[in-house]
């Protein structure tokens, strides 16, 4: 009887296991293996050498790109969380159930169009002679260089992550038991302290998950740093493209990719720990 239940459970889980094996674990292992391969005369041969690792990790340009990527992803996560919060707060607490449903629907709409298309739109808007600089010009400001800079890349990252962060924050805020908020108020907490002492701790998981999603998406993104950030300074994703283009150096690109995945795992685990961890 017990064997049958186990077998049954296994069968139902099988599609997911196969999917994970074929499209996640398999490629990941292949990529890790590839980082030890040899490239000779523009051809890869399976091997077990540490040259690729040594070459990448001892180069300043790798660590420069790593720092830029880490900094930008962190900034994108922080900015997205801060910009999203007032909107999420209003959606969760100031709107009726129906209005909130419509608002969340409109937050999903941006995902209907390709991210690349939205980034192209920003290229026009942010250009030196674009409409934003034109408007700023009328009030005597600018023109500012926004394209091909960190600012441009950040605008792109926020385009990518902001709707998602708002959705995640709104769900977690709307799920807070209203009695807890009233109880804090009733026990002498001003609205500001109620926000800090009750609302933020109650919505902690959703707020952290939102920030982590923003970090992960911005960390791996190549569209914004390429089309709006001007590839300079290069991020890790741009470094991967450059490396593969120059002399078929796929193994060196694999080193970069493994480093990125390792970083994301570390950040994700730390975030889960912070979100669900028991306090002392």
């Amino acid at each position: 009887m017990k064997d049958r239940t186990t077998a049954h459970a296994l069968i139902w889980r099988l599609p997911l296991l196969i999917w994970q094996g074929l499209f996640f674990v398999g490629p990941l292992l292949l990529m890790v293996a590839m980082s030890f391969w040899l490239v000779k005369n523009y051809r890869m041969t399976p091997d077990f050498i540490f040259d690729n690792w040594e070459r990448m990790l001892t180069r300043g340009y790798f660590w420069d790109a790593y720092r830029v990527t880490l900094w930008r992803a962190t900034l994108a996560a922080v900015l997205a969380s801060l910009i999203a919060f007032p909107a999420s707060f209003a959606l969760a607490f100031k709107l009726s159930e129906t209005a909130r449903r419509w608002a969340l629907f409109f937050l999903v709409v941006p995902f209907f169009t390709s991210y690349l298309v939205r980034v192209y739109a920003w290229q026009v808007l942010l250009a030196e002679s674009g409409p934003i600089n034109a408007v700023l010009g009328w009030v005597g400001l600018g023109p500012f260089t926004m394209l091909n800079s960190g600012v441009g890349a950040m605008v792109g990252y926020l385009t990518l992550v902001l709707p998602l962060v708002v959705i995640l924050q709104t769900f977690s805020l709307a799920a807070i038991d209203r009695n807890l908020i009233e109880a804090a108020w009733n026990l002498g907490a001003s609205p500001r302290r109620t926000l800090l002492r009750v609302i933020l701790p109650s919505a902690k998981v959703g707020l952290i998950v939102g920030a982590v999603f923003a970090f992960i998406l911005a960390f791996g993104d190549f569209v914004s740093p390429f089309y709006l950030g001007g590839s300079k300074p290069p991020t890790l994703s741009i470094l991967i493209i450059d490396t593969t283009k120059s002399g078929q150096q796929w193994p060196r690109a694999a080193v970069v990719a493994v480093m990125m995945i390792g970083t994301l795992f570390a950040v994700a685990f730390a975030a889960v720990g912070a979100a669900y961890g028991r306090r002392k």
Binding site: N179, N186, L187, G188
Partner: protein, 336 residues
């Protein structure tokens, strides 16, 4: 102001939500150290009344004064009206002690003093040793006591309770009733207790306020309301009352325990009725009857009497009552 002035005064207080009037102009005073229960069916406005007292709802009209001060525009966090929620509303992200300390810290009490006062209250509520527990690791009765400690630790002059016992098992309800009445006497503060349960209200309160459809139907000591319900609504809501046609054309109510059941027609006023069923209650046995017009009647009898009568369903008996047990009801009923 003297100690004999009422602590709370409602003057023509109304609360409407759009077209719906939840509270239709109530006047009520609550004294210092009084245990008042506000009772009524769901939707009668009792919880809205309590929430207005805590400042969580603003009256649409009328005045609420606490300790002589008009409170209409004072926000909840500037009042001294802690409330015990039906759901308890303990903070799940804080442990037991931190929950109890919350109100003190919000009022600027130092960490050391807050710790000391919280520990005293935890000990008083029999929760010593539980201070580091998460609230979801506690039993229902323990959580209840944490909620009480959290509200009382700031030494308020009044405690508001919104059906705090409705989620507990029956045996715990009786125990918590004891805890609450003892606390209220020891502290000598005002308790305003909202409930739909007659047994809770009558067991604990000095004075019961019966509400129906946003109005106060009757205010009085439990015994007075039970013996002399003013209207048909109160008589029906309080239960165990028989509503009968009176001599002068109006209606009277007779409490079930004043009814006499006899198998032969007694002299004087009596109604012939058929036996329906019996129900064991704490103080005796309630027997249900039906008269020729289909009206349901109740009588409380002792076990010995029930045995002597040996009633079969459908058996015809006579119900009578002494004249002084009949209380005339006001013709206007609240649900008209």
């Amino acid at each position: 102001m003297t100690d004999t002035d009422p602590l709370v005064r409602f003057d023509g207080v109304r609360k409407s939500y759009g077209d719906f009037e939840a509270v239709k102009g109530i006047d009520l005073t609550i004294g210092r150290g009084e245990f008042v229960a506000i009772m009524g069916p769901s939707g009668c406005g009792k919880t809205t009344t309590l929430r207005m007292l805590a400042g969580l709802e603003a009256p649409s009209a009328g005045d609420i004064t606490i300790g002589g001060k008009r409170m209409n525009d004072v926000p909840p966090h500037e009042r001294d009206t802690p409330l015990v929620w039906q759901s308890l509303a303990l903070f799940p992200f804080l442990n037991v002690k931190e929950n109890v300390e919350f109100g003190l810290k919000m009022r600027g009490v130092s960490d050391t003093e807050a710790h000391g006062r919280a520990m005293l209250w935890l000990e008083r509520m029999g929760l010593k040793g539980f201070e580091k527990r998460r609230v979801d690791e506690l039993s229902g009765g323990q959580r209840q006591r944490v909620a009480l400690a959290r509200s009382l630790v700031t030494e308020p002059q009044m405690l508001l309770l919104d059906e705090p016992l409705s989620a507990l098992d029956a045996h715990l309800v009786i125990r918590m009733q004891g805890v609450l009445t003892r606390l209220q006497r020891e502290l000598g503060i005002t308790f305003v207790y909202v409930t739909h349960s007659q047994s809770e209200a009558f067991a604990m309160a000095d004075r019961v306020v019966i509400m129906g459809q946003g109005e106060i139907a009757q205010v009085g000591a439990p015994r007075d309301i039970f013996r002399a319900p003013r209207t048909r609504f109160v008589a029906e809501f309080v239960g165990r009352n028989n509503i009968l046609p009176g001599a002068g054309g109006g209606e009277i109510s007779v409490a079930a325990d004043r009814m006499t059941v006899s198998d032969v027609a007694p002299g004087g006023t009596a109604i012939e009725a058929a036996f329906l069923s019996e129900e064991f209650a704490g103080t005796g046995i309630i027997c249900y009857f039906e008269d020729a017009s289909g009206r349901e009647l109740k009588a409380q009898v002792s076990e010995a009497e029930l045995e002597r009568l040996s009633l079969e369903p459908g058996a015809k008996v006579w119900l009578s009552w002494p004249d002084e047990a009949a209380h005339p009801l006001e013709p206007k009923s609240i649900d008209e």
